[in-house]
Symmetry: C2
Subunit: 480 residues, 2 copies
């Protein structure tokens, strides 16, 4: 698929991961042979081969993009990962650390000496250092602070002060500013004096003497217009202005909706603080989407694929614990009806069907509502409409699946009344699932909680215990 | 949060949706009063007020960004949605349709006459028309084809030929090409003759006489370098080249990893076909992430929030049907042990705990593996490591939760042996969940299926039926 023109003189393996794995295996094979001899002295030829293999691996590794190196590190088991990490050259360390996931980053940082970490930050911008900061040991951060010039120190302090999930945390300081009363020609000459422009510079920021943002000069405009006209004539003043305290998700929505490459960040007095760029936003979107899927499965955080067992256990225990509690509650509901089950043991076999389908239907409703809430598409008016709609869907589903389940029950157990109880219980549990499928996320939201977290556990708990209660209750009343 | 400088003379409501809802309610209120009178003639003042309200609503609506209009339409119930849609001016129709979700787009298109639809496409590029094409009636597409100049007709045909999920489907044709033997000065003059450059132009494509891609000239390079030097001296030739048949996800990975704004698309002879831009990639990532969450909940497609009940039922039935089958299988497993349950009714109350926790643990494993597979981070070597790791995690979890559950069972039922069976069944079901949590997605992948779809249903089916079987089987052997 994606390819670059670079010739690497290697076998044409398709991905960096495969290539690294191949070179690593080659290196370890020879190393293994050498170790087999149990002699401390290597023969000259062996030592040469070993060195050659290592050089080949190191050379291939260090011509990779930092993001590719990060990817390879994430896909390797810990031992191999640390070996490869030790071969990455120091200039790349910082960028690779930026690209790795939190859990893998931790394994890499643990393996580095303080001075190596300080050195790694030398190649990074202040906003990038701020991204790493939460994972760095305190003394490293202090060393880094001391090593920075005053202005950057202030920037770093500012960047580190914004909480995760805020626009401030996505912001960088790589802005080029111009004045509105100069000609485009002057801007062009100014740019030509730079070695390079910051990545993702699709616009220059027009500010006044006090750094207040007046508008932006799109690079497109700069290029297609007559160099003799003034910035003020072609600049755009109706622009997106983000604030560092804004929720990052809102910035992401703006980027998605208005197809932005960069957007300005200003303080409450409209003073330009920095910008957010689309690459940061993509990372944010990906991480967020991933966390959503992980949360749905009850993994509390991104987990290193090769995390030690006890670490994984820790990452997963909360959900299992919650589930244990809800399962015991459901179990007690059943326990309450033990006498009925003793009399009609078919109930035991049938009850999980009612609970299971109710849970699934409820989760479908929840997913719809959580998504609409995330997009801010629900208000009081539409909430009522949605409750009625979901109840309608459940009623129809209940009639379809209730009849079918009732019929199957009748066929298996040859009891007309048992089939009827089964069908009615199904309808009622689906209605319960629909109502609470709307109400649970709306209530969580009302009280300021993220409806994406916990809704699914709650609806399943309700449809399990509720389903058992409805079914066993109806059976006790009408069948025994 | 995000704000523009535009003054709208309206009350300062925070979002377009709130504002439109407010104006719509105002309009409908007067309309409602008028209708109450049951007289066909409006008094002059009423008709004026009605007209004023409508104008106010229309004016506000049509100064919004098409993406905002699309958002509002999605959040409105069908009747209101169609009223608002009728007020959107014709020039915006096409762009708004592009921005809406498939399900909502269908409701809008159904409401439009053929000639309106043809007119809507006049303001769109060929790649954008291709995006809409699957939703347009056949005769509209034919009309659109006839209305296009030959070159664009070819582009449209090409664009429509790429399957969804391919790079070709993300591609647009808005490329600016230059030759490598000209000076930057010439390029600058050439650009100045354009009215505007295409959005997201961060690079110009350097091609030879036969349109073969030689490299790219970054706009950054164009701006910082001496206008007297030649394109060849500053162009980059190691670039990402996508192919129209590539999987879109791989392009998305490249954009995310290498922080791209645009990337070239070439055919097998390295001839430039078009480009992919970051805004399209963001839409792709968002849609994909959303579908993943929807699939997890068993919603087969994106669903209009206000879809008619029967349509929603249709969207949700497959999952419920599959679930019904697996639930009946589990039910039959229980049915097989009815005699045991009759003798020891506590089994009925306890068995859902074993099944439930097994299901959760299995889903945690599946989520980890599916994610790693999506990122291409698993090979044969690491697959074995992962199986052992997951079994290890389950063993530890089994010991912890199995002991706890066994203890609780002992406390509730005062039976030492019942507690022991409970604990052992928990360990065994968690081990089963771990093994199949790794094997199911790997097997699906091996046979060319998307492991994200269906893995979760399958593991739940296994841990339910398996859990019941293990627990009731152990109980039958050791307790009765």
């Amino acid at each position: 698929m994606t390819e670059t023109n670079s010739d690497t003189d290697q076998e044409n393996l398709t991905s960096p991961l495969q290539q690294i794995t191949f070179l690593l295996r080659k290196y370890k094979l020879v190393e293994g042979l050498v170790n087999l001899q149990e002699s401390p002295d290597l023969s000259l030829s062996e030592s040469t081969v070993l060195k050659q293999n290592l050089t080949e691996l190191t050379d291939y590794l260090n011509q990779l993009h930092p993001a590719d190196i990060a990817f390879v590190l994430e896909a390797l088991p810990l031992e191999d990962r640390l070996l490869i990490w030790s071969l990455v050259k120091a200039e790349l360390d910082g960028e690779v650390l930026l690209e790795t996931s939190d859990s893998v980053r931790a394994t890499l940082i643990t393996d580095m000496a303080s001075q190596e970490l300080v050195a790694a930050t030398e190649f990074l911008n202040t906003d990038e250092i701020a991204d790493l900061a939460p994972d760095l040991p305190q003394e490293v951060i202090e060393d880094v602070f001391r090593s920075l010039p005053v202005e950057e120190r202030e920037q770093l302090r500012a960047a580190m002060s914004y909480p995760e999930g805020s626009v401030g945390a996505l912001m960088d300081f790589n802005v080029i500013t111009v004045r509105e009363d100069v000609r485009l020609e002057v801007v062009l000459r100014y740019l030509r004096r730079l070695d390079a422009m910051p990545d993702h510079t699709d616009q220059l920021f027009v500010v006044d003497r006090d750094e207040h943002l007046k508008g932006v000069l799109l690079i497109n405009q700069l290029l297609v217009n007559d160099p003799d006209i003034q910035v003020a004539e072609v600049m755009t003043s109706e622009i997106i202005r983000l604030h560092p305290g804004d929720v990052a998700q809102q910035a992401a929505n703006a980027f998605e909706r208005y197809d932005l490459v960069s957007a300005s960040v200003v303080d409450e007095y409209d003073k330009l603080l920095g910008r957010v760029t689309v690459n940061t936003v993509i990372d944010f979107i990906r991480t967020k989407a991933e966390n959503e899927v992980l949360n749905l499965a009850g993994l509390s955080a991104e987990e290193d694929l090769f995390a030690p067992i006890l670490k994984s256990v820790k990452n997963r225990w909360i959900w299992l614990a919650i589930n244990l509690v809800t399962a015991f509650i459901a179990s007690r509901v059943i326990g309450f009806f033990e006498e009925s089950i003793e009399k009609l043991v078919a109930l035991a076999a049938l009850m999980p069907i009612i609970a299971g389908i109710g849970g699934n239907s409820g989760n479908q409703t929840i997913t719809m509502i959580v998504r609409a809430l995330a997009l801010d598409q629900i208000n009081i008016d539409s909430a009522w409409k949605l409750i009625f709609k979901e109840i309608g869907v459940s009623a129809v589903n209940g009639l379809i699946w209730g009849s079918l389940v009732g019929l199957l029950t009748f066929i298996i157990y040859q009891s007309y009344s048992l089939g009827l109880v089964m069908g009615v219980a199904m309808v009622l549990n689906l209605l319960l699932a629909a109502m609470l499928g709307v109400l649970i996320p709306l209530t969580l939201r009302k009280f300021g909680h993220d409806p994406a977290i916990g809704s699914s556990v709650m609806i399943t708990a309700v449809t399990d215990s509720g389903g058992f209660f409805i079914f066993l209750g109806l059976a006790t009343i009408f069948l025994l």
